[in-house]
């Protein structure tokens, strides 16, 4: 047998490298569908936004709607609740940021930055401590000291703009992305 020439060796190495490279590309291309299949399916994505009609909600009332598998609070605030919220000193709040996904991350937690229209408060009803659903305070059945929500799991208290005032929760209740389709209808998500 004749020994392989240097030329043969380089050609063989090239073929090995080429095979290995193509194999790696193939494996990566095959891997993607197997990873992506765990992402939300098109059925889950179709439920990623919900439209909420507002016409049946009276002043001082709110509803809870399921959105992306979690509760969504939609509340029609009284003028007193709005005024109470505006009077709060934002700098003294446990969480001074707005946590409003419709505006910049750095926006402060002023009442204006927690809503689009002052009368309508739209919040994700998930306590920012460990995920329980807080209970709304009503004149008939007050919950907590701030006229907003009280989370019965560990005692977090939120005010009339859903901002954390007392208790272990680190952040204000999240304001999800939403928009007014009309005066009586919002689309969330």
């Amino acid at each position: 047998m004749t020994a392989a020439t240097a030329d043969d060796a380089t050609r063989r190495d090239f073929l090995y490298v080429a095979s290995g490279a193509m194999g790696a590309v193939g494996v990566a291309a095959v891997a993607w569908p197997f990873i992506d299949q765990m992402n939300p399916s098109s059925a889950a994505l179709a439920l990623s936004s919900v439209e909420v009609p507002l016409d049946s909600i009276q002043v001082g009332q709110g509803i809870t709607v399921k959105w992306r598998g979690q509760p969504l609070f939609v509340r029609r605030r009284t003028p007193a609740e709005i005024a109470e919220s505006k009077a709060v000193d934002v700098a003294a709040l446990p969480d001074p940021l707005a946590r409003n996904l419709n505006i910049a991350d750095t926006a402060p937690a002023t009442d204006a930055d927690r809503v689009i229209k002052p009368e309508w408060l739209v919040l994700k009803g998930v306590c920012t401590h460990l995920g329980c659903t807080p209970t709304i305070s009503t004149p008939a059945a007050p919950e907590g000291e701030y006229g907003g929500w009280l989370c019965h799991c560990h005692g977090s208290q939120y005010d009339t703009a859903g901002r954390i005032r007392k208790g272990p929760a680190p952040q204000n209740l999240e304001v999800p992305p939403y928009a007014f389709l009309s005066d009586t209808r919002i689309k969330v998500g």
Binding site: D8, R11, R12, L15, A18, S42, A46
Partner: protein, 270 residues
């Protein structure tokens, strides 16, 4: 090799036997005719769904077939997805809103109104096409005891699906052969096994008025609705064929490189 002619002979006699058997079957009047051969844009390795046919076919389903046939595995948001009829999300939303979906129990826990009618709400993108009947018994009661099958997968559920369904839809109004007895309350269709079908002829000329102005002959309507139903059975067909092309090109190239590597490597062994 010596045994080749033997295998060839066996193969040929098998083919001959099978074809005579098939023809013998069709000649017997109770067995169905083989389906007509209609050409569809989605056939073949590079086939795609004709968007116009899909939208016209959807119109035929909506206005004619949907009165009796469900499409339970198709969701309204599928209408706006790639490889489908090509409606925009807004259009699909509008189509969904035109359908009545059984509503969740109201605050009083009721699911029906004072007249006993099911409470409904307008459809949203996430909903599936609702069935025209609340259950199988209601479907049968409204159709002379026959159950109109769900159409989501009808093209896959029948041999030679597109041609078969097309033949059924265009196979009515034929004269039965002499001596053939058409069962009461059934209709003669030679493309249906037994030739007595429970479905009355669903399509007439101008059963629908096409939005794009195409002339609505029975053949056109049948062609379009079969295209739509083929999409309903296989919404991912275009993606599948496109991916197949890329995959095959890659594999053929890869095979070439590996073959060269093998040959080079083994050269010093042989």
């Amino acid at each position: 090799m010596k045994h080749f002619p033997l295998r060839l002979a066996l193969g040929l006699s098998l083919a001959f036997g099978v074809s005579t058997a098939a023809l013998a079957q069709a000649a017997d009047n109770s067995h169905r005719l083989p389906p007509k051969k209609e050409e569809f844009s989605f056939e073949g390795p590079f086939g795609t769904y004709d968007r116009g046919a899909l939208q016209r076919g959807f119109q035929v389903y909506k206005e004619v077939c949907g009165a009796c046939h469900a499409l339970q595995h198709v969701a309204f948001h599928n209408l706006a997805e790639r490889g489908g009829p090509g409606f925009t999300e807004a259009q699909a939303k509008g189509i969904a809103a035109g359908y009545k979906i059984p509503a969740e129990p109201n605050d009083k826990g009721e699911t029906t109104d004072d007249k006993g009618e099911r409470l409904t709400r307008p459809g949203i993108l996430a909903d599936y096409f609702p069935s025209p009947f609340p259950n199988e018994n209601a479907a049968r009661a409204n159709n002379g005891g026959a159950l109109p099958p769900d159409l989501s997968m009808i093209i896959k559920a029948r041999e030679a699906g597109p041609n078969y369904v097309y033949s059924i839809l265009t196979g009515f109004h034929q004269t039965p052969p002499h001596g053939f007895a058409v069962t009461k309350d059934k209709y003669y269709n030679p493309y249906f096994e037994g030739r007595n079908i429970g479905m009355p002829p669903p399509l007439q000329a101008n059963s629908v008025t096409y939005n794009d102005g195409t002339k609505a002959t029975v053949e056109q309507e049948a062609h379009d609705v079969v295209t739509f139903l083929a999409w309903a059975s296989e919404p991912k067909m275009e993606e599948r064929k496109q991916m197949g092309f890329s995959v095959l090109i890659f594999l053929i190239a890869f095979a070439g490189v590996l073959f060269a590597a093998k040959k080079k490597l083994w050269a010093d062994v042989h």
